[in-house]
Symmetry: C2
Subunit: 500 residues, 2 copies
């Protein structure tokens, strides 16, 4: 076989694998959004089978051989070329995937499925003990997973790598130390400046109306019926079960307006996936590069755009029109301050832009202690509660609103949380670069124009897909490595109390 033929062959094999992955994505989306509950047993089986087949086909000897045979082509091709990127990125995925015995992969999946099933009731009943054995099993399996690899600098590196490839725990620690140093005082300053009234954000808000308003915003951003849909789920998420097929969900809660921000957040994930260069479709390069970079985009559209003054200059009159009884008497500035209120609280997903990061740092620290056996699972609630008090001055009344609030650990995901704050940090670096290139974005936003920003992001970031490492990707967009300072500056400028 010629090299060209081998490359084509590799692409065919990888396209099969990608089709199966997209199919698994649909199985999950459908399960969460459309499936009648009676289908859940059969769906679990189908999902497991498709997962197993995907793994089998990816770690095949044929793909391994092709990757070896294509070393020459990779070396003779430009680093940025499709060919070199495809071989390079696939080889790393392949080397990681083949390290882990299929039985262990199966055990990890099974344990996570069981733990997720237990998590819901445990949370509802605030019963940590009901989840504890599952968390212990997940943790033990993660430790066996880690042992499949060469010893890293820190054990946590290997977990992090699954969500933020190439990122080291030490780098994250440095960034998070800076956040802690800067944000803890900021939270205090804001607290001392007195309370902001946001009472009008609670009340009766017709869910159907919220959906219409959310869609109106999303359409302004770039949502079209041709390539998108928007549904209701309890936990908002974005899913792309095929190139050119972007599905958002939001939770249109009848008693607040949080769905608006969730819709903008998920839009950010969606527009990233949609912006990946179509030539990368059906390859391992055809998706966002990491969870952190993905989150940078959801936070861009939710916070940098969606909680900005200029956005609401345009959109607030429309929101008032949609909810005249609730917002007719609230002026724009009062509304703007309310949606940007900083206030320590119990629940991560409801947290403001500043304190959100403290929720993440707490989890990042506990995860390391768990995986290094410095903290036992049974002591986790106490450790959680102590740190909530230390960082945010908040007393945790029960585990439902404490250590049981998130599903990540039950799902076996350890090392995932830091990507949320890394996303926050990167979002502002990218944003500053976009503003350098595009000039005054606020004026555009005030006129409801978001196309220039979206196109800039597509061209400079989204299109790359997974061709480069996350760090390379960020450097190509911003010219610098990941750096917390712009983010801290942004938070302070936007949210620090103004001298009266």
């Amino acid at each position: 076989m010629t090299e060209d033929r081998k490359l084509a062959r590799l692409q065919e094999r990888l396209a099969d694998v990608d089709d199966l992955k997209k199919t698994a994505t649909l199985l999950l989306w459908d399960q969460r959004v459309m499936m009648p509950p009676g289908g859940s047993v059969a769906r679990a089986e189908a999902f497991a089978s498709v997962g197993r087949l995907t793994q089998e086909r990816f770690v095949s000897a044929e793909i391994g051989r092709l990757l070896e045979d294509l070393r020459g082509l990779e070396e003779s091709s430009d680093y940025d070329s499709f060919e070199a990127s495809l071989i390079r990125v696939t080889r790393r995925d392949y080397e990681k995937a083949t390290r882990v015995p299929p039985e262990l992969v199966g055990e990890i999946r099974r344990a996570a499925a069981l733990a997720l099933t237990a998590w819901g009731p445990a949370k509802d009943e605030s019963n940590f003990e009901a989840l504890r054995p599952h968390l212990e099993a997940n943790l033990e399996l993660r430790q066996r997973y880690v042992e499949c690899f060469d010893p890293p600098d820190e054990t946590y590196d290997l977990l992090l790598d699954d969500y933020e490839p190439y990122m080291k725990t030490a780098e994250v620690r440095e960034i998070f130390d800076e956040l802690k140093r800067e944000l803890l005082p900021l939270v205090r300053e804001i607290g001392e400046a007195g309370d902001v009234d946001d009472s009008f954000l609670s009340g009766e808000f017709d869910p159907q109306r919220q959906r219409e308003v959310g869609l109106e915003v999303a359409r302004r951003f770039g949502y079209t019926d041709e390539q998108w849909r928007l549904d209701q789920t309890q936990h908002p998420f974005m899913s792309s079960p095929g190139f050119g097929d972007i599905r958002l969900t939001s939770n249109f809660r009848p008693d607040d307006l949080s769905s608006l921000f969730a819709t903008m957040h998920e839009f950010g994930h969606g527009v990233y996936e949609l912006g990946v260069d179509p030539s990368l479709a059906r390859t391992p390069l055809g998706t966002g590069v990491s969870l952190g970079v993905h989150e940078s985009q959801s936070r861009t559209w939710e916070n940098l755009v969606g909680r900005s003054r200029s956005f609401w200059r345009f959109f607030y009159p429309r929101l008032q029109e949609a909810f005249p009884a609730q917002l007719g008497g609230v002026d724009e500035e009062t509304f703007y301050r309310a949606i940007n209120k900083v206030h320590p609280s119990l629940i991560r997903i409801d947290a403001d832009e500043v304190t959100y990061n403290m929720h993440i740092i707490l989890r990042f620290e506990l995860e390391q202690e768990l995986i290094d056996n410095r903290l036992a699972v049974r002591d986790l609630p106490d450790a959680w509660n102590a740190r909530m008090h230390e960082y945010l001055g908040v007393e945790v009344p029960d585990d439902a609103r404490g250590v049981l609030q998130d599903m990540h650990w039950a799902g076996g995901s350890i090392g995932y949380f830091p990507t949320y704050s890394l996303g926050n940090v990167m979002s502002v670096q990218i944003w500053e670069r976009a503003r350098e290139d595009l000039g005054d974005l606020d004026e555009r936003f005030e006129h409801g124009e978001f196309g220039d920003l979206r196109e800039w992001l597509r061209e400079h970031l989204y299109a790359m897909g997974r061709k480069f490492t996350p760090q390379e990707t960020i450097e190509r967009v911003t010219g610098s490595r990941i750096d917390a300072r712009p983010y801290v500056r942004y938070l302070r400028e936007k949210l620090a109390p103004q001298p009266a």
Copy 2:
């Protein structure tokens, strides 16, 4: 390996295959009901990949070997046992599947996909020539398909077998000849008796209201939110992407009440699938036995129940309540006659219970002429129009309302149509047997009670799944072979003009 271990192994392999099939079912359902149009290119790829993988895994050497090794177990087991049925039915599927080279399977699928894409516009523009080359390609591929098998009595036998296993063309011809002999005069008699007023069935009928009414009927029949859903599509269909997960669609057209009957029809398909014994799930036995038997159940719930006097005795007041302006002044008997009006017309799916069969017989005859090269594709429109005139006295004004009206031939399905009328025939045989066992069903229907009928059908028919051949299945339910006479008798009793 022991025989037990081999059987378990076979079941595991078949469960994988079944999971993939169910996954493909979801890919299709989603495409037709939920997917934004932008996803269609990626979806076509994913669907093709999953289809190819399913085929690959089914025709594997391992399954072949296991089937050979399990001949002893099959022979030593009771014919009715799960084990013997599983091995017997799987072997037949396997032997058919391995006859056809994967490349030909791929070509058939590809040609059908292209033809289906061309069919929509060709129909919209009533342009047969635009579809002709595709039909020729499909036909030629079907002829190559036939050549993969030992020569049958009639070529058409092999096509029919894919939809109605073991049924021979000669048997169908005999049944259809009887239908022709009996129904043509009946159509004439009815025509001579004068027109029935059904004008009130056209008008404005709020689609949302229709959906509510359709759901109310379906819930009476056995639909639950736990295991079912009901959506809108242009062409109604039933899909089961997993055991215990039944999805109906109906077309809630704003200008008539046809959605009601479509909902009942699809309910019949759904309740059959749902009634298959759960122990057969994830095996080749875990679904309805043939298209004909399936159709017998959709027609049972649509026609034998849904167009009966006793059903409307219960339900008509409710329908009048839902549409008081349209139906408030129409009495029950007038409504009953209108929904049972017999009148020759152009479109199969809109045809009444009697003339429907003539639409099928026409297609059955043309299909045989095509596959035997007695009719060229280019002469198909003329042949169609001539036979429509001969059988129904109807002049076809254009191909859109003639030969282009159905998607089956474009989809490569030749041999499918006869199963519709076979279903009609079998429905009454099964129905008569149910009434023998259950006594007066009408009284139950008049009180809105359908559970006894549903449970009888589940126990005596649905539960068997694919354990036996369609003919065996019908014989087990009714005690006799497929027989057109009960059906003809039913039509005559219900629909022949009454002496004044």
